[in-house]
């Protein structure tokens, strides 16, 4: 389809449309919005994007986002290096940090075990996790992979692997706070039943 836009606007629309949750129409709307703004605003956005592209590298310790060798969590000496929370992707760290409950450090696996996609243990950063456990004298692993089939398979795999060396905990997966039992789906409830604890 021939475009009535200039090549640079076309390119902007194409790039915006690659973002998750943004279709071609939204991309066009965003592009026009940027064009209408005073030029310092889109410039600031462009600079911010250029800065992350230039400066962000994986943290050499936990593989979250860092500028330089270490991410802010790994660089913070007040955080407990002997407790590691294992996540699939850096985005999960943000969610856990918002709870202000966790004072240890993180480890980003870079995905989860998924036979259907051919993701095996070797494809995740498990060797690096083992090295940290040895080096930092880790005493507890908090496994915070997603409550999906692959996240759960990963959690159970890791637990089997390190259980004899240290304490392994898993974020409880069950009924949302404030919800009625009758509204729970069958898989959540079934698992909550099979994993029930004595109180």
């Amino acid at each position: 389809m021939a475009s009535i836009l200039t090549p640079s606007v076309d390119a902007l629309v194409t790039e915006l449309a690659r973002l998750p949750g943004i279709g071609p129409r939204s991309a066009q709307r965003l592009a026009f919005h940027l064009l209408r703004m005073p030029s310092e605003r889109p410039q600031a956005l462009a600079d911010a994007i250029a800065a992350v592209v230039d400066r962000i590298t994986p943290c050499t310790q936990c593989f979250s986002f860092a500028e330089g060798d270490l991410c802010p969590v790994c660089a913070d000496t007040r955080r407990d290096p002997t407790v590691i929370c294992v996540v699939e992707e850096p985005s999960a760290i943000m969610s856990i940090e918002r709870t202000h409950e966790f004072r240890g450090r993180y480890h980003v696996l870079g995905g989860a075990l998924s036979p259907i996609d051919g993701v095996d243990p070797e494809d995740l950063r498990i060797v690096e996790l083992d090295q940290r456990i040895e080096r930092d004298g880790v005493t507890e692993l908090v496994i915070a992979t997603n409550p999906t089939m692959s996240g759960e398979a990963t959690a159970l795999f890791l637990a089997d692997r390190v259980r004899d060396r240290l304490k392994v905990t898993r974020l409880a997966s069950g009924l949302p706070v404030g919800a009625d039992l009758e509204h729970a789906d069958e898989l959540t409830l079934g698992r909550a039943y099979l994993g029930r604890r004595e109180i």
Partner: protein
């Protein structure tokens, strides 16, 4: 817009957009189908937990543009919660789901594969972890053997697949479609046939899936997996990602 009502098992759930999920489903009447579940990934969604791989559902979905259905409602027939209590079971189930996803075609009658896959998931949900990798679990291999049969790809293991001559068969050639005799094996590019694997495959085909653990030993399992993988690659162009690399 036509409404479809069917039983189905979720083979795969992919994230889509902010909060939707795209499901690949196996159905008895329509083979493999895809459907979008809007809002399924919101924490408040009651659907989310129902739409995980391995869950067996009664669903209704609307036909839209193209092949993608829109999920309207889903009731659980079997949540398969037992799968989720053990990493070995989850990974074995993942292998079964992948086999279904890659081998069962779209939009075909698939009653036999459907019954096979749901039975396998139910068995794996109660099985005990073995020392072998989950991809070599007897139920996983049983599903592979039986799906070969459903696809008309049972390897010929009673007589030479090249000349029809009697045993012994010493090689395996997926191109010839089975075991080959000492004279046909020469220059055929066939690989060595493990007799224990051939026997185990025949036993897996002959016995109900529930008896798969008696049909295949840990020693024979890799050979069975290899024969199935070679047949799938040669005749369907399918290479399982969950399998041992060929």
């Amino acid at each position: 817009m036509a409404l479809i009502e069917t039983e189905a098992v979720v083979l795969r759930t992919l994230k889509y957009g902010e909060s939707d999920a795209i499901l690949t489903l196996l159905t008895p009447g329509m083979g493999r189908i895809s459907a979008i579940a809007k809002g399924a990934r919101k924490p408040t969604s009651k659907q989310g937990g129902r739409l995980q791989p391995g869950v067996r559902l009664n669903l209704s979905a609307a036909e839209g543009r193209g092949d993608l259905l829109t999920l309207r409602s889903a009731q659980v027939v079997d949540a398969g919660a037992g799968l989720w209590m053990d990493g070995y079971r989850l990974r074995a189930a993942g292998s079964v789901l992948e086999i279904a996803m890659r081998v069962v075609p779209e939009q075909v009658d698939a009653e036999a594969p459907y019954n096979l896959i749901t039975r396998a998931l139910a068995l794996i949900a109660r099985t005990t972890a073995l020392d072998t990798p989950p991809r070599l679990d007897p139920y996983v291999l049983g599903v592979q053997a039986k799906l070969l049969a459903v696809s008309g790809l049972v390897p010929q293991l009673g007589s030479c697949a090249a000349c029809g001559g009697p045993p012994p068969l010493v090689g395996f050639s997926a191109a010839a479609g089975g075991g080959v005799c000492p004279s046909c094996v020469i220059g055929s590019g066939a690989e060595t046939l493990d007799p224990a694997a051939a026997d185990a495959l025949v036993a897996l085909l002959a016995r109900p899936l529930a008896e798969a653990p008696d049909a295949v030993s840990a020693a024979a399992a890799p050979g069975v997996e290899r024969i199935a993988a070679l047949m799938l690659r040669e005749h369907l162009g399918v290479t399982l990602r969950s399998g041992t690399p060929l």
